[in-house]
């Protein structure tokens, strides 16, 4: 479509300023990827707690908030690091602009991280009676308020959903990048969280029951399958704006982005699907762990391409 327009106009830019290249780069990719893990483990963990007895997953109560805490902090660190004025991050809290999804997201993510920290401290204090020694007031207080964990957990699960999805709203507000304007972005964020969350928990599920691992395999298989179908739909269907079409040309036309995209699809979606389905039958832990690692790698690559290609397009 675009090529035809150029052919018709026979117009060539002969003098212009240098355009900005990729503005949101690997740090934002890492940011989104880490957030998917941080929220995904809570969503998938909640599903497992609903389906199975706690005895079947003895370490879930502390490892789930611990993994979430680590990756949420990676997400927050790279959010901060990507700012050109990192110390002014405080302005989001002092001078919030509520129409911005960045503001709403920062507040929600901060609250979410605070609640996850509480869960982590209580979970760890209960699981390791010797943690912090006898004089540590924090662990003593955590142990005496152990019931708080179960009280705030439903709210944390509820909050994990908007924390997962708000990046899609930032992308929707980035109206210069039409590829991100698709409603599918919201659902892709949710699938990414389920993919990343189930993968992260698979890596921690060595001592869990076979049924719990089977459920994790099922979540991973469904998430990668659905996410892959959505990517393919966006890749092949041409009912898109001319700008989105021109953006996808950076993948269609071959080159580095094409290689990265298809590597991402194969590693993160196609192979893990078959491995996860196979592991559901055989309960092969090694195979399942391999699927989880591939899914995490592939997810990063797919997100990286989707983030960068719209920034290659000249806007004026």
């Amino acid at each position: 479509m675009v090529e035809n327009t150029i052919h018709a106009t026979q117009a060539v830019v002969t003098l212009d300023v240098a355009l900005p290249g990729i503005i949101w780069g690997w740090m934002i990719t890492l940011n989104m990827w880490a957030k998917s893990i941080g929220t995904g483990v809570i969503l998938v963990g909640a599903y497992l707690l609903y389906r199975h007895k706690k005895d079947e997953m003895p370490n879930l109560r502390w490892i789930m908030p611990l993994v979430s805490f680590v990756f949420l902090n990676i997400f927050l660190l790279f959010t901060l690091t990507d700012l050109h004025q990192p110390y002014r991050m405080v302005n989001i809290f002092l001078h919030p602009h509520w129409t911005s999804a960045i503001t709403v997201g920062a507040w929600m993510a901060s609250l979410f991280t605070l609640l996850i920290t509480i869960l982590m401290v209580i979970g760890a204090a209960d699981a390791f009676p010797g943690l912090g020694g006898k004089k540590c007031k924090i662990t003593a207080m955590a142990r005496s308020n152990s019931a708080v964990y179960e009280k705030i957990f439903p709210f944390v699960v509820f909050l994990a959903i908007p924390v997962t999805l708000y990046t899609a709203i930032i992308m929707a507000e980035s109206s210069a990048r039409e590829l991100w304007q698709a409603p599918t972005e919201v659902i892709q964020m949710l699938w990414a969280a389920l993919m990343a969350g189930s993968s992260a928990l698979i890596l921690a599920s060595n001592e869990w029951s076979k049924e719990a691992r089977k459920d994790l395999s099922l979540v991973l298989a469904i998430a990668v399958f659905a996410s892959f179908l959505m990517y393919m739909g966006e890749y092949f269907f041409s009912f898109k704006s001319s700008e989105a079409e021109a953006t996808l040309a950076y993948v269609h036309a071959g080159g580095a982005f094409n290689v990265e995209f298809w590597f991402g699809m194969a590693l993160g979606f196609i192979i893990p699907f078959f491995l996860a389905v196979s592991a559901m039958k055989s309960d092969n832990k090694t195979l399942l762990r391999f699927a989880a690692i591939l899914a995490l790698v592939g997810l990063y690559l797919a997100k990286d391409v989707w983030l960068k290609i719209p920034q290659m397009l000249p806007l004026s």
Binding site: T5, I6, V13, A18, S175
Partner: protein
């Protein structure tokens, strides 16, 4: 009052006077532009023509940059100008992602977002924007689009049917109009931009956003240790050996 801008592309001769005036008036650093004039060659030899398109912030009534800015660094003034407060900007580049016209840049000296403000400081003093004053053919027309008797309103009415805005499908309601434009000049997808193919330089994309000497670690350390002044010296200072001037050299 709603201030607007109109460029008559039939008059523009690509002298870049507006571009230079803007740079000087607003101290716009090297590698950054609030206003730029793009040259586009149209047709095939020997039937060719060259068009000149000044591009700047469109001061949209429904500005995506204002909406996405998390700290209201980008904000509306009462006269419709979309202004930027660099002291509040956190440098997240959300506005650069949101602006459909690519009109916002990361200032390499302040590491904050910046853009055309229609010379809000001059307007406050009753003066015209610097680019309007500099234009030798009066191709830039500026004024209150809500006033039926202003020059810009009369110009728009006079050229009804020929007045265009860029990317109207974005629903940004821009307050920057063009007369004499076509899709080949106003639609970035309707002209080819060959990598490295430019009249006077071969740079198509900048390798950095913001200060090129200000890496990730520097961003955190800068308030404590400062960082080297980035100025325009390097552009013209061919002889960086200080001894020559001290010794009376040329």
């Amino acid at each position: 009052m709603k201030l607007g801008f109109l460029v008559d592309l039939n008059l523009c001769m690509g002298c870049k006077g507006c571009e230079i005036a803007c740079k000087v008036e607003n101290d716009v650093p090297l590698s950054s532009w609030r206003l730029r004039v793009k040259y586009i060659d149209i047709g095939t030899f020997p039937e060719t023509s060259r068009s000149f398109t000044p591009l700047r912030c469109n001061h949209c009534e429904n500005a995506p940059c204002e909406r996405i800015c998390p700290v209201s660094a980008l904000h509306y003034l009462e006269n419709g100008i979309v202004n930027v407060d660099s002291a509040r900007c956190i440098g997240c580049a959300g506005c650069m992602m949101a602006c459909p016209y690519g009109a916002i840049y990361m200032d390499p000296e302040t590491n904050t977002a910046d853009k055309c403000t229609y010379c809000a400081h001059r307007i406050e003093s009753g003066m015209m924007p610097a680019c309007v004053v500099a234009c030798p053919v009066e191709a830039n027309i500026f004024g209150d689009v809500e006033d039926d008797h202003s020059h810009i309103s009369l110009y728009i009415m006079e050229h009804q049917g020929a007045v265009q805005v860029r990317k109207p499908e974005k629903h940004t309601n821009p307050k920057h109009y063009y007369v004499g434009g076509g899709s080949q000049t106003l639609d970035p997808l309707a002209h080819e931009r060959l990598e490295g193919y430019n009249l006077f330089n071969n740079i198509t994309h900048l390798k950095h956003v913001g200060d090129p000497h200000h890496g990730v670690i520097d961003r955190f350390l800068a308030p404590f240790v400062g960082h080297g002044k980035v100025d325009n010296d390097s552009f013209m200072n061919f002889n960086k050996d200080a001894k020559s001037s001290q010794e009376g050299g040329h």
